[in-house]
Amino acid sequence: MSGLDMAAQAGIWALEILAIAVPVALSVAYITYVERRVIGWIQVRKGCNRVGPAGLLQPLADGLKLFLKETTIPAAANKLLFVAAPVISLTPALLAYAVVPFGETSLFGLWDKPHVMAISHLNVGLLYVMAISSMSIYGVLMAGWASNSKYALMGSIRSTCQMISYEISMGFALVPVMMLAGSLDLVEIVKAQQGGLLHWYMIPLFPMLLVYFISGCAEVGRTPFDLIETEELVAGYHVEYSGMWFATFSLAEYAAMIMIALMTSILFLGGWYAPIPALDFIPGTVWLLGKTAFLVFLFIWMRATFPRYRYDQMMRLGWKVFLPWTLVWIAVVGICIYTPGLSAVINFWMPWR
């Protein structure tokens, strides 16, 4: 490969990364707006409607405000880690997008073979997403520890416990998906669900869909699992943060939330396939993003509806309800696969066999 080729390749990569990162950043900004409007609508009040037409410029105003605010570092804090923590928490949230396939395209017939729209088509994509999202814990831990404040420390221990607990059931919920799809490649998993609504993994793995989605909700600390940042528990790990650094944490949280919604769509809701094969003329990316948008709406809906869990209730749900469910379902799927008779049923979702 010559130097010119390498430079061209690097340029293409940079463009691909920009093509993912910019929409993510923009959608994070506008999801905050949507969230406020939707919750306002659900709670029969206005929501933000003052800045710009229908309040559409509100996220920009918020961003500007956060940029201009003073950022303080507590005197006794560990300065290096204090500043590094928001970055550590944002990086994995964005890195995870590297393997997400947003669909297949032949670029309006320009290529003779459809290409996968992903920065990197990794054959252990699912594991990659799990590994990278598990690293977001470090941002939380660092923030709590580096602040040198007991409230931040306790908050970070609290939220780390929560994240670790739910990560386990999240991981286990994906095992049946791997078993049915026979692959860790996200593209393969989507392709295994081709052929309409009945082939989607939400049908055989409905309990796992619930476990994954709700655990994802807990993992990113959304209501009803937002003990991470409750007011009555002194805000949690980011009490000492202000201004842009604080905003970075919320940025990471929203990016992770979109990621959960995307992964749920890819793993359980048929990815970029339409519910009825006849509708596949609509580009797959639209379907995928549509499903994702619905799930994000669900997140917001849940936030507007449910009261917060108490800490012991939350732990109980993760360890005593979800974990046994997932273990049982793994066994059920495994038994189905290797039992004559039942396997004919399950083979419907295992096209590769």
Partner: protein, 487 residues
């Protein structure tokens, strides 16, 4: 359905693993059964685990047919050598469980205690059947992990905590060394199987042996730690003293059997090409081990510590058999380990009997005047101690005899003279306890917990020592049969 196939070909000779599978399944079942056993009747779990051992023993006798079988894609071997040592391990675990029935009653979570012992036993059973490094390492880890927990079982006792922590940290370090040594063997020979490594090393140019030598050092260090061979013995006295006494007895016997058996397999199968280096390293360690064990034991006032050092001393003698090598050397080792299992555990059983309200019964002074109050206990203890010292025509004498003769035959005369010297030193501190029992006045009143099963165990081990002392031939013959085909 036609398109359903079992995901993998069924492992051949699976039945060779029957005892292990039974132990694993029954131990897990016991873990659940124990939840339904009321707290005041937890000894039931102990009896059930004894039954498990009995089942495993019966199964073992069923699958043992005197031939050598390799099972499970070559990761497991069942030969007479493995069968004999498994029987020893089963016996040792059973004795330790009997000792625990009363001892552990005051602790919380009693049920898991017995289950952990079964798992440790399972690890040892796998270890003696290991014919490659994967099975060996996993067996060692299973055994060690269970024992770490058992050592720290009395979690409100500072001594127990300290012992468990020291054992755990040093044990992990030694596991790391072992793994590191294994990587060198794998790097040079591209194999983890003992026999294949042996063949590859025999074929490799001698310059490559340098690389293996580094691995050899690490592997010997790791294994030496597990059998507490000097200079890797430091954990032994602390762990033995702090652990609950039945566990001390268990640790002093069963893991040593398993460790030495796997040592034999490595030395005999994987290292014939490096025999000279192996013998050199092991001889140095044996000399050091005998010296450390026997000299340090003299200074001890706590009998558990004393017996810990005595174990180290005995390990040194057993190593002589390893050095002597194929045939009579390995047979001598087995004889030694079998007899030591009974006399060592018997002595610890007497210590368990000595424990009573408020007194651990572990100091030498606690034994003063025992002969006047309980002549039976004193007689048994005396016999066991004399046997440990190697006084002629008790079991211990024949154990030493078998190993020493083998070493002389292999040409290690100086080592044997040295070992004889240290057995004389060793005799001193064993006989000192007898002096306390028979010639001193009691300082504290004795009132013992009476447990028929325990008393029977003590009596049986003492009797075994006497019987084996008078008539050792069957055991010797059995061991000779067991090691045929090794090395």
């Amino acid at each position: 359905m036609a398109n359903v196939t079992f995901p993998f070909p069924f492992p051949e000779h699976l039945s060779a693993l029957l005892p292990e599978i039974l132990v694993a399944v029954l131990a897990m079942a016991l873990l659940i059964v124990d939840l339904f056993v009321p707290k005041e009747r937890k000894a039931l779990t102990g009896y059930l685990s004894l039954a498990t051992i009995l089942v495993a023993g019966v199964a073992l006798m069923q699958v043992a047919d005197g031939t050598s079988v390799t099972a499970f894609y070559g990761f497991f071997t069942l030969d007479p050598f493995a069968v004999f040592s498994k029987l020893l391990i089963l016996a040792g675990t059973a004795i330790a469980i009997i000792m625990s029935l009363d001892y552990i009653r005051s602790e919380e979570n009693v049920g898991e205690y017995f289950v952990l012992m079964l798992f440790a036993m399972l690890g040892m059973m796998l270890l003696v059947s290991a014919n490659n490094f994967v099975t060996m390492y996993l067996g060692i880890e299973l055994m060690a992990l269970s024992i770490y927990v058992l050592v720290g079982y009395q979690r409100d006792t500072l001594r127990s905590n300290e012992a468990a922590l020291k054992y755990f940290i040093l044990g992990s370090l030694s596991s790391g060394m072992l793994l590191y040594g294994i990587t060198f063997f794998y790097g040079v020979t591209s194999s983890l199987d003992f026999k294949q490594i042996g063949e590859a090393l025999a074929a490799a140019p001698s310059s490559e042996h340098t690389a293996v030598l580094l691995g050899l050092v690490f592997i010997i260090a790791g294994l030496a730690f597990k059998v507490s061979m000097a200079p890797f013995h430091m954990w032994t006295p602390d762990a033995y003293e702090g652990a609950p006494t039945p566990i001390t007895a268990f640790m002093s016997a069963a893991p040593k059997v398993a460790g030495f058996v796997v040592f034999v397999r490595i030395v005999a199968d994987a290292l014939p090409a490096l025999e000279h280096e192996t013998v050199m390293i092991l001889s140095g360690m044996a000399v050091l081990t005998m010296a450390v064990g026997n000299l340090a034991a003299i200074a001890q006032r706590n009998i558990k510590r004393m017996l810990a050092y005595s174990t180290i001393g005995h390990v040194g003698f057993v190593t002589l058999g390893l050095i002597a090598g194929s045939g009579s050397g390995y047979a001598g080792m087995l004889v030694y380990l079998a007899i030591y299992l009974f006399m060592g555990m018997g002595a610890f059983a007497v210590i368990v009997l000595m424990r009573r309200e408020g007194i651990q019964g572990e100091l030498l002074d606690d034994f003063a005047g025992l002969a006047k109050v309980r002549p039976g206990y004193a007689l048994a203890m005396g016999l066991l101690l004399f046997s440990l010292a190697g006084i002629p025509f008790l079991g211990g004498f024949w154990a030493k005899y078998a190993v020493f003769i083998a070493a002389v035959q292999a040409g290690h005369v100086y080592l044997v003279i040295y070992a004889l010297l240290f057995s004389v030193v060793g005799a001193f501190y064993y006989i000192r306890v007898v002096k306390y029992m028979y010639f001193d006045e009691a300082r504290v009143p004795f009132d013992f917990s009476e447990n028929r099963l325990m008393q029977a165990t003590v009596a049986l081990t003492a009797m075994a020592v006497v019987v084996l002392g008078i008539y050792p031939d069957p055991l010797m013959e059995l061991c000779r049969q067991a090691v045929i085909g090794i090395g």
